[in-house]
């Protein structure tokens, strides 16, 4: 009985501090998803429509970021690249010693590698005649991709994209290793004081579960909202 009381007390006392970590976790996710989107779309377009050199570059990028564990990347960025850059006086106005920045970059650039493949799949899933039709109407390739291909492909990519969200969310918990005060690192701190690692892990698990659930739900809503009425994918066109 005493054990349950202690566990409940540990959760109760640590709750405000750990909840404060949600802002950091959310910041990591939004930053990384955004960065992944920003780089992922051009990478996907380059992969599908670019020449041989472009395709090689995209492949190399994907191999690099998919091939190195996030934990190793975090160390390489935080202790390596960022520490090196912060030696350059001209860059001193950038927050280069912030663990948050390193974590967003690592998670974002890695996510870009995965997101590019999501978008590539979506683009290639569109009927191939569309680009030809657009050309026949006198559109340039760039305009056609921007106005015809991407608006459809991005909609189609949302379900796979929500998968990426849930994976990224869990990867973000690794940011504790470079001192980002997100949910996981705060949970560890509280566990160290209260000596109750298990109940607090349960709490952290519940918080991540909630974030996954809420995020996926929001993306489902988005999917329904931007759906093109009467448009069904594949085979029907």
């Amino acid at each position: 009985m005493d054990g349950y009381v202690k566990a409940a007390l540990a959760i109760w006392e640590g709750l405000p501090y750990i909840l404060g970590g949600l802002w950091w976790t959310a910041g990591l996710i939004i930053g990384a998803m955004g960065l992944g989107l920003l780089f992922g779309i051009p990478l996907a377009v380059a992969h599908v429509y670019g020449g041989k050199a472009m395709r090689r570059f995209v492949s190399a990028y994907i191999w690099l970021f998919r091939g190195i564990p996030i934990l190793v990347q975090l160390y390489l960025f935080y202790f390596g690249i960022m520490a090196y850059l912060s030696e350059i006086p001209a860059l001193s106005f950038l927050p280069l010693s912030s663990g948050f920045l390193s974590a967003v970059l690592v998670l974002g650039l890695t996510s870009a590698a995965y997101q590019s493949q999501i978008f590539r799949g979506a683009i290639q899933g569109l009927p191939p005649g569309q680009l030809k039709a657009a050309r026949a109407l006198g559109m340039s390739d760039a305009t056609a991709i921007r106005a015809i291909i991407l608006p459809q492909a991005l909609r189609l990519a949302i379900p796979a994209w929500s998968n990426e969200y849930s994976i990224l969310l869990k990867d973000s918990a690794l940011a504790f290793t470079i001192g980002v005060l997100e949910v996981m690192s705060r949970t560890r701190s509280v566990a160290a004081v209260t000596h109750q690692p298990l109940p607090l892990s349960l709490l952290a698990g519940a918080l991540f579960f909630f974030l996954t659930w809420a995020g996926i739900k929001a993306l489902k809503r988005l999917e329904a909202k931007v759906r093109i009425p009467g448009y069904a994918h594949q085979g029907s066109l």
């Binding site: 202690k6 404060g20 935080y78 005060l181």
Partner: protein, 250 residues
């Protein structure tokens, strides 16, 4: 044209703000990298504020010696790399001044002494010596002095046990509770903390030189080291030192 002028002004404003910020930041703030999982030396209190023996000590020294200090949580595994990469300026976080670490960093004068002990379940009456020859598993936090001690000990002739590394001492205690390991090795100070939970006792103290805690700093920061050492001496001579020790049960 007007739009462009606005843009130019905005850029100028940003520029000025940046440099204004730089000028304001000229008063040096030293960053203390701290393991927030190491009570009573460093932890976060109920309000999420950095707290602990080392945090309060360094705050006192900073005030006395006229500099500012900020406490930055760091993962223990990366704390010395962070110091060398200038992410932080000092480690005041219950760090043992080992010879190996002293190759990379300079330590302040010692301010605390600890021994290495083995914690076992209260009901267990096996002695430390017995466990070290039993072939049983002993848990320990990765990267700590105790871990190194155990890893060295296990290679010596006659000794027979298995070292199981954990992310934190607390997790090893969880495993000790359910019997996956026979004991957990740790600093005497951590053991004292762990004893606050019922069900554990100390089986014995390892036969090793007691280690001394010191603040770690970069080798090239000689002036800062001088300031810290002077401040530490003042602190240890002050009645506040005794008060602090009593507060944290050291």
């Amino acid at each position: 044209m007007r739009k462009r002028l606005g843009l130019l002004l905005a850029a100028l404003a940003v520029f000025v703000l940046c440099f204004g910020g730089l000028a304001a930041a000229e008063e040096k703030v030293y960053i203390n990298g701290i393991d927030f999982g190491f009570p009573p030396f460093g932890f976060v209190d109920k309000d999420g504020k950095p707290s602990g023996f080392d945090v309060e000590s360094l705050n006192w020294i900073a005030k006395k010696m006229g500099f500012k200090v900020k406490h930055q949580p760091m993962d223990w595994d990366g704390i010395i790399p962070a110091l060398l990469a200038k992410k932080i300026d000092i480690i005041a976080s219950g760090m043992s001044a080992t010879a190996e670490r002293a190759k990379k960093v300079d330590f302040s004068i010692p301010y605390y002494e600890v021994t290495q002990v083995l914690v076992v379940p209260e009901k267990d009456n096996t002695s430390l010596a017995d466990i070290l020859h039993s072939g049983k598993k002993i848990g320990v936090q990765r990267g700590t002095v105790t871990a190194k001690l155990l890893e060295e000990l296990v290679t010596k002739p006659g000794y027979k046990f298995e070292v199981v590394p954990y992310d934190s001492t607390d997790l090893s205690l969880e495993d000790l509770k359910i019997g996956r390991i026979a004991g957990s090795g740790m600093d005497s100070t951590i053991a004292k903390e762990a004893m606050k939970n019922p069900g554990y006792k100390i089986a014995g103290t390892f036969d090793a030189k007691p280690e001394k805690y010191g603040y770690a700093m970069r080798k090239e920061d000689k002036e800062f080291q001088k300031k810290i050492n002077e401040g530490l001496k003042l602190l240890m001579a002050d009645p506040y030192w005794k008060e602090l020790k009593a507060k944290y049960g050291l």
